[in-house]
Symmetry: C2
Subunit: 377 residues, 2 copies
């Protein structure tokens, strides 16, 4: 399973694994893929700095990447207090009432963690993530990729990345996005289909991937959305992608240790993921203000119910639900989970170590190619 | 491009082409695929009988199939007059007003064709389609497949088909549907992803196809939804399907001659299809009462506008919009079209003869397999 991206990044397989967990990201890189650490959960520069240091110590010198959420157009920003004032009281009341109805406990420490996973969506914070990643790259040379989950990164960020020998990738859900990225200097297009977890457009992977491959010309395309088996990697290569970008698939990795869990047991979120079928996701604006695919749970149902308010635009929706996400994340009811997940969650049916997941992908890929060769005259 | 289905059906390529046009269906069969004639537009048994006779005369003895719309559960039925009485006057008024607003002319013959494409959705009419197809099979032995676009066919129909040596296929948009079909005795599962034209579920082809392949065990799966290139056929085979089921792709075939058109020019519908991108479809209940993907036009926009009524359940919605479809179909404004189409419509960019389309699919398929072989160590 070799494509030109393997040589370019010094990796064994063109499997790019996005995950908010440094344990999982490191394991993906150690197993021959490229682990990409999602940075949006880090509010404080020092936190990210410490985690990247840990990544360095646990990746045997192998390359890895970081993923930031950085709109090219700087949104209306200000102190958290200014933004807070823009949230209608009815929205706050709905969130409070819903959490009560669903039996989600208050945070044990009384709210110190209310900003968890919130500030990373602000431009200024995302920008500090870039600065820290570049510092690490100059020190250790392991960070080979910076990916942007939201539009083209700002021009100067692309310049800084290139100056440090770091490739820039950006997610695209439509042909227009991909062309815009490439115009802006992005190196790699991540074509994310409708079925993917998190932000997606309407066009599905089967249609989108080859469309973006054709649009991108010489630039490589990573196939995202719906990849959770070696057969799907084979489909990605068949459709012209040079590799895959997988996210949901790693959430049930044995190394994934974010969220509330009892020692030795899957976390609350993992229990929900293990039980879900491919039909148990919805695409809604309630997570971030933009359409994102989420696990369908009592939380998403509440926002679908009659009388629920319309979600707010980004970044206000993040601020609105930030505390709710923290409370849900600390609680232990798998029926009440707020988690981005793609339709491939139907294939996440057991807790498995990353190395075994990747071995399985590679061997199933080989079987798929053999099956295709058998169809030739 | 050989799979076990080629031998089973006596075809060169496992390309199953669904189309309402006998000209296109015959051309697909002549070019080495299996043309499958959509029967829903035939109100009168004699019409279908004559068209099947024409198919016999124009397919050089090659096999072909028919597609009917036949719910396993017989819906509330009655005379057209009984059903008409169940349509709320507000719905009729909305349709009339919308057609006027959009400038769609009355039918030139004053309404004789109002039932066009309507009665085929009724169980009794679909049943007559089966009877006529079986008669033709006993006479000429060319009809090798009967496909059902809506649930499992009734048990006795499956028995009659098998008695005549005809395989039975049924569309499935979810694992549960596929298992139900196989329990009922269906031979081939057509896994239709979210991106497909016409009736679809929520799960996309990338996720659905391998899920149904695994669920179907030994039974073959045809991959439907999003197929319009040799690369996508390669993806289908990589994902474990034994062939593909393509519909939208043939609507811009040179042989397609349904709908209003000036001599030597593409029809109104084809002009709309040629101009559409992959983002120009919507999935709505307005065509039949069940969610179906349609070309996004001023007609679908009108149903999305504030104040538009909720679509009626099947088969009432068909009756409600039957005359509207006939009027739109006879008119010549490509911005006002009522047409099922999948997201692959973005790849339908020129009028091309069927034989050339199939040649292109086959050669691109071979290139895709070669590209995959180049990734092996």
């Amino acid at each position: 399973m070799k494509t030109p991206l393997c040589e370019r990044f010094g990796i064994e397989y063109p499997i790019f694994g996005f995950t908010p967990s440094e344990e999982v990201a490191a394991a993906i890189s150690r197993a021959g893929g490229l682990g990409v650490l999602g940075c949006v959960r880090f509010n404080e520069p020092d936190e990210l700095d410490a985690v990247l240091e840990w990544m360095h110590e646990n990746t045997d010198g192998k390359p890895f990447g970081v993923d930031v959420v950085m709109p090219a157009k700087i949104p209306t920003e200000g102190s958290k207090m200014d933004l807070d004032a823009m949230i209608p009281p009815e929205h706050r009341a709905f969130v409070e009432r819903t959490l009560d109805d669903l039996g989600v406990p208050q945070l044990p420490d009384g709210g110190d963690r209310v900003n968890t996973g919130v500030l990373g969506w602000l431009h200024s914070v995302a920008r500090s993530h870039v600065d820290i990643a570049m510092e690490h790259t100059r020190k250790y040379g392991q960070i080979k990729l910076i990916a942007n989950a939201l539009g083209s990164p700002p021009e100067d960020v692309i310049g800084i990345a290139h100056d440090n020998g770091v490739a820039v990738a950006a997610l695209a859900g439509a042909r227009e996005h991909a062309l815009h990225h490439l115009d802006a200097g992005v190196d790699i297009v991540i074509a994310q289909g409708y079925e993917g977890g998190g932000h997606t457009g309407e066009v599905t992977s089967m249609v989108l991937w080859p469309e973006l491959v054709d649009a991108a010309g010489e630039a490589p395309v990573l196939a995202a959305g719906g990849v959770g088996s070696g057969r799907q990697i084979a489909a990605a290569i068949a459709l012209g992608a040079q590799g895959v970008w997988m996210g949901t698939y790693w959430l049930t990795a044995a190394e994934y240790n974010l969220g509330a869990h009892k020692p030795g047991e899957p976390s609350t979120v993992q229990q929900a993921l293990l039980a879900a079928t491919s039909r148990d996701t919805v695409r809604r604006r309630i997570y971030s203000g933009k359409p994102a695919r989420l696990l369908k749970t009592a939380w998403t149902d509440a926002w679908d119910a009659p009388g629920a308010p319309e979600p707010l635009p980004m970044p206000l929706q993040n601020l609105l639900v930030g505390e709710a996400h923290a409370r849900i994340s600390a609680s232990d009811d798998p029926k009440v989970v707020a988690m981005p997940a793609g339709q491939i969650v139907g294939r996440c049916n057991e807790i498995t170590p990353v190395e075994k997941l990747i071995d399985g992908l590679v061997s199933e890929y080989r079987e798929a190619v053999a099956r295709m060769n058998a169809t030739l005259d």
